[in-house]
């Protein structure tokens, strides 16, 4: 009798387990298939494309070994466009790293400390991240092209060109815009990390007499270091993907002097004929080969030499 009961329990348990497994499979099947098709499949196809050419007459792709790589390397050496795109991508990264992360940390700390107007500050910083990029770019363009010149004219009675129209300021203005719209996400992450710090640690440090700068440097930074590392690593990984919102500003028609690799690839891909795809896929792979080791080294260095929480 008791044995039957245990058997029934075992069967029931097995049935439950099978049901749970089935549920689990059903739930995961869709996202996993999506991942396989739209990430693995697409990227795998891109990798294959880099070793293929396109036969104009037959309208078919064929294997052409490393021809695309030779062509891209030749173009890297010969074409000034790539030099500009490379330089601008690096400048944008450095600018973002320096100002984006620095001010992102400071703003986050300000909000974390709940100083005057911190709620408003949080909303203002986060708005650009939730509003459509086209709307933000339009508002920003109107501000720098009409608003600022009008303000200057009102105050100093001087008529100046808009900041984007003035070629000396165009790139800097675009860099500023990109850092500014990036504050929302960085602030959210940093404030989240800061809020997760055990309050007793902060209180004990305050009892020990730390001032605000010491608290930030010796307590907050070490404790949010994993978040900081993650942020820097993601930024490094996206060096050549950052299109600097140029498409939102200029569509296809940005001047070459403003190009980043991200913009170049984006604008080329959306108008690419079949014959162009292998070349663009090759550029993507080469840039990945450049980015991956740099990203891994920086990740390793930040983890190894970052501040200790001890």
């Amino acid at each position: 009798m008791e044995g039957n009961y245990i058997d029934r329990l075992k069967t029931k348990f097995k049935r439950e387990k099978t049901k749970n497994l089935l549920f689990y499979i059903v739930i995961l099947a869709f996202p996993i298939s999506q991942f396989l098709v739209f990430y693995v499949g697409v990227n795998f196809n891109s990798i294959l494309l880099a070793f293929r050419g396109y036969d104009i007459d037959q309208g078919k792709f064929y294997w052409n070994g490393l021809d695309n790589f030779v062509k891209v390397f030749n173009d890297f050496q010969d074409m000034a466009l790539f030099e500009i795109a490379f330089k601008n991508s690096i400048i944008a990264f450095m600018f973002g790293l320096l100002f984006g992360i620095l001010f992102g940390l400071l703003f986050s700390y300000y909000i974390y400390k709940k100083l005057f107007g911190h709620k408003l500050f949080k909303v203002v910083l986060f708005i650009p991240s939730i509003v459509s990029s086209i709307v933000m770019v339009t508002i920003f363009m109107q501000f720098v092209e009409s608003g600022i010149p009008n303000i200057i004219e009102q105050i100093f009675n001087i008529r100046i060109m808009g900041l984007l129209a003035n070629s000396d300021l165009t790139f800097t203005t675009i860099l500023f815009y990109n850092v500014w719209i990036g504050f929302g996400v960085s602030t959210l992450l940093y404030v989240g990390a800061m809020n997760s710090i055990n309050i007793s640690i902060i209180e004990s440090a305050q009892i020990d007499g730390v001032n605000t700068i010491q608290e930030f440097r010796h307590i907050i930074m070490p404790l949010i270091w994993p978040t900081f590392t993650q942020f820097v690593v993601v930024s490094v990984g996206a060096i050549f993907m950052n299109q600097l919102s140029l498409y939102a500003f200029y569509g296809q028609g940005a001047e070459v002097r403003l190009y980043s690799f991200g913009y170049f690839l984006y604008k080329e891909v959306i108008v690419a004929a079949n014959v162009d795809l292998p070349y663009l896929a090759t550029i993507g792979i080469i840039l990945t080969f450049i980015t991956v080791p740099i990203t891994l080294v920086i990740k390793w260095a930040l983890q190894k030499y970052g501040p200790s929480t001890e």
Binding site: I56, D57, Q58, G59, K60, K71, N74, D75, D78, M79, A80, L81, I84, V123, I127, I130, V131, S132, I134, V135, T138, M141, Q142, V144, E145, S146, P149, R159, M161, G162, L164, A165, S167, F249, Y250, G251, Q252, G253, E255, V256, R257, E268, I270, V271, A272, A273, N274, V275, D276
Partner: protein, 565 residues
Amino acid sequence: MKKIGLFMIMLLTILTLAACNIDRIGEDEDADLGKTQLYIGNFDGGYGDEWLEKVKVRFEEKYKDVSFEEGKKGVQVIIRNSKNFVGVTLQNEIQGLQQDVFFTESVYYYDFVNQGLLLDISDVVEQPLNYEFIDGVENTETETLSIEDKMRQGHIDFLKTPDEAYYGLPFYEANYALIYDVDLFEDELLYFAKDGLGNSFGFITDLEMERSPGPDGDPETIYDNGLPATYEDFFKLADYMVRKNIVPITWAGNVQNYVSSLLTSFWTDFEGREQMMLNYTFDGTAENIVTGFNGDTPVVEAKEITTENGYLTYGNQLGRYHALSFLEQLLANPSYYNSSLVFSPAQTHRDAQDSFLSGKYLSNNDTIGMLIDGTWWQNESGNVFDALEQAYGSDASKENRRFAVMPIPKVDENHLGEYTVYEANFSMAFVNANIDEWKQPLAKAFMQFVHTNESLVEFTKTTNTFRPFEYEMEQNDIDELTPWGQSLYHLHENASYVTPYAYNEVYLKNISTYANELDIWNALVNGDSIYNIPSTAMFNDDVTAKAYFDGLQRFWNKTYWEDRI
């Protein structure tokens, strides 16, 4: 505080949604289950869909008693307009789309063909227009010409595949142009007078005064009489406008490539069709290859152009130098344009149209004489016309205000004559290959119907633009066009058109470069500074026409070319 927060969130949501390019899914008309549906995809661009709505009414009426499916009678044409029905996006999605027939642009025809995305419509193109696809017989009521008979040779050469099949037809005829305000020109007497007449500046003193013969040099062709015949005339006109407190010209700061495309129009007009086509066919003698400069005067030689040296036309064709010289002269005088607008990315093409149209009514705005835009501009700026009409009455309406296309001025008096126009945008009409076999005759009948003389004329009367076919317009049809449409009519009838397509390996390998028109102005100026937009190069960095032209030669060099052939 919470209410304010909620309000902010709602506002942001509305702003975000407003910016989204949401196709009007669900806004298609409901399917009438008693009829067979034919789905049309129309690129939501400058030509609108009013012309298609008119075709729909007539097509549905024609086949109202015909059964295409068992248990159904008649046809219902359902039109969807979308900004996604274009170019590579459409190429990637077309197989999964419901639409049977498309009217679109930026199409890489042979990519579509090679991927099997388009239905073979050779019979539509080659059969006379009185052939009934539904019954498979000829009728006696309609035209005996075929669509092919109405096509330009350039389109036939490109669209007819090596296996002698057609998969698409050109959709619209467009080019980048100088658009001028006829009312303003008449009010301010901005037309050149015939030699010996006019005021001390050479302009007419009253509207009845005889005008100069215009850029074609022929006083009989009155549509261009009084307009600047040469570059020199153009700048005389610009100076005269400035004296009258008129800003001569504007364009969209956000799309400087409109200026580049206008330069291509200048280049084309100088070279003529035969010479210009060498840039695509690479087969023939180029008469105007610049080999150097004698002071500021280009030294020109004739060269045989083949696929091996095709870069010579891109780098060295004289027409490019003249086009750049025109631009240099235009930008050299800041009173000809408002630099804070025409070089500001905040001024979109719609804003430029707005300024051009509203200057007449708003005292704070500049009065502007000319606009650089595509020939579809008037349809595109319909809402500005509507707003002005509401504010200032019917005189401000699209129907009552008068604009015209200004023929490209010639480089000098020795080059007066025929106009040559560069067709832009790779527009195309085709049938989706995924259409059910039983429905194919219906789609073909629709394609045929759209290309009857009646439909072509109706398109023109509706959009005040043309389709790139030869078709007959009665005088009363022409009279119904706006002055804008009438000015395009003269071009359509009298100009020679460059269809920038060719079927050869070099062309097809570089088709995205040709199609997008931006890369063809790439130049390596003063050593290694790369520029892609002549207007900003000249304005920002004082690059001269000669330096830019030299830069084109440096960019379009032998090594670069060999990598691409």
